[in-house]
């Protein structure tokens, strides 16, 4: 691989919602380009929609972080070496075997049946947030607790431990966390979920952890690793999507007005917000296990690849005027949930939570507005999953 000119991650430009300009300068004639990772390691960057789909659907690109050449996006990630990350960092057939133990819990039908329960959680948080108040931090009071409560309910994790697991997952998702802190967070969360899993052996409930125990096929540590994956993936992502979505809508009053006037358009709006925000800002990483040609470029066995979802989701060839937030556009095949066999397991749940969150907030708070100047909002540039720390609003 020749020397790279761009570093990954590259800084964002003037619009905090837009992907870093450097990822997109590659442009239409260079669908696959070279970048240098934080430690100088060269890696391929895929920024176009078509090529990103090709890589993610191609079994020659492995998600197994123990393979030589797998691209690690931070010192801590390299140190952990993909250990104990469960099936998100495995290939088929083992990935499929483990994933299928959970797919029954996240079907379209199962998830739709959760609607009343999720709405109830949202209503309770809403009441608490608004009663006797004229403003709140939308992240702490609504966007973060909603998916955290729901994933706790599904897994059978006590919500009272939320400060602990939210702190651990933040440390794990920060690119710039010191290695010792990441190792400690990983160990604490592992010990916690292993202990909880063992507890379910004698105190079964109808949560996912208990049902994995009841199958009798998996060791405690394998169930613990799955639990950790679901717990982290299940709250950080939706929390940040919710907060950023509200902020994006407040900054686009015409789109907000459209959504308020057309409540039935919420599912379509959620899809466009998923595309436009593409919060997995790290991109999705793979390593080639064989030589493979992508976008006219030969990627050699053992070379790393990053599929840059946020750039690919604004690829002009797939989404004309892709930088515009347009809640009425055709968003089909956006890559916000990835593609291929690792495509997000929790996507039906994420969609349900986002729909309910936006509906609840926008319908019941017609005067919703930012309580601080936009310039004061702090964006999470250092996190694997993009978002905002807090969102002070008033109504």
């Amino acid at each position: 691989m020749a020397t790279a000119t761009t570093t990954h991650p590259a800084p964002r430009g003037t619009c905090p919602f837009a992907p870093p300009p450097a990822y997109r300068q590659a442009g239409p004639d260079e669908p696959v380009s070279k970048v240098a990772l934080w430690d100088g390691t060269p890696c391929w960057l895929v920024t176009r929609h078509q090529e990103a789909r090709e890589v993610l659907a191609d079994p020659r690109f492995s998600a197994d972080a123990t393979r030589p050449g797998f691209p690690f996006l931070s010192a801590a990630a390299r140190h952990l070496g993909g250990g104990k990350t469960s099936f998100i960092r495995m290939d088929d057939p083992e990935h499929g075997r483990l994933r299928r133990m959970l797919t029954g819990d996240f079907t379209i039908r199962k998830t739709a049946a959760l609607r009343p329960a999720v709405q109830q959680v949202a209503d309770e948080l809403f009441e608490k947030m608004t009663t006797g108040r004229t403003g709140a931090d939308l992240v702490a009071d609504f966007a973060l607790p909603l998916p955290s409560l729901v994933i706790c309910l599904l897994l059978g994790v006590p919500y009272q431990d939320h400060e602990f697991f939210q702190r651990c997952s933040r440390t794990l998702l920060r690119r710039d966390s010191p290695i010792e802190e990441v190792v400690a967070a990983q160990d604490e969360l592992t010990a916690y979920l292993d202990a909880l899993t063992d507890h379910k052996r004698t105190h079964p409930d109808d949560g996912i952890l208990s049902r994995l125990v009841a199958r009798g096929e998996l060791a405690t540590e394998d169930i613990g690793a799955m639990g950790r994956l679901l717990l982290i993936a299940g709250h950080e992502t939706t929390a940040n999507m919710t907060a950023l979505s509200v902020l994006a809508l407040l900054r686009h009053p015409d789109q907000l007005a459209h959504l308020r006037a057309h409540p039935e358009a919420t599912p379509a709006a959620v899809e466009e917000l998923l595309r436009w925000l593409s919060i997995v800002q790290s991109g999705v990483t793979r390593v080639a296990t064989e030589d493979a040609e992508i976008g006219g470029v030969l990627i050699r066995a053992g070379e790393g690849v990053i599929c840059q979802i946020n750039a690919a989701n604004r690829d002009e060839q797939r989404y004309p005027d892709g930088d515009a937030l347009d809640l009425t556009r055709d968003t089909r095949r956006h890559l916000a949930f990835g593609f291929g066999v690792h495509q997000c397991l929790g996507q039906p749940l994420a969609r349900l939570e986002l729909e309910i969150a936006l509906d609840t907030l926008l319908r019941r708070l017609p005067g919703l507005r930012l309580a601080v100047p936009f310039e004061e909002i702090r964006f999470r540039h250092e996190m694997t999953v993009y978002g905002i720390e807090s969102l002070p609003v008033a109504w």
Binding site: L56, R99, R100, T107, I108, G338, G340, V341, Q343, L345
Partner: protein, 68 residues
């Protein structure tokens, strides 16, 4: 239009059910695809084609040469 599914390649993401609920369903046990209608009416061609393109596992195939 003749549709084939390969449940072994299915990763249970449910994209097909969202795209063409008249044609696809998911097994309750493991979320894998169930073909409700292997020869859906031509009127559903757009929905079925969408499901083929959206399926992340490449588990759905339209039989070559079937009149669409």
């Amino acid at each position: 239009m003749i549709v084939h599914v390969d449940a072994d390649r299915c990763c249970g993401a449910g994209q097909c059910v969202l795209a063409a609920p008249e044609v696809f369903d998911q097994r309750d046990e493991d979320g894998t695809v169930v073909l409700l209608d292997a020869s859906p009416p031509a009127a559903l061609v757009r929905e079925v084609a969408d499901a083929v393109a959206a399926c992340p596992g490449g588990a759905i195939r339209l039989e070559e040469g079937t009149p669409r």
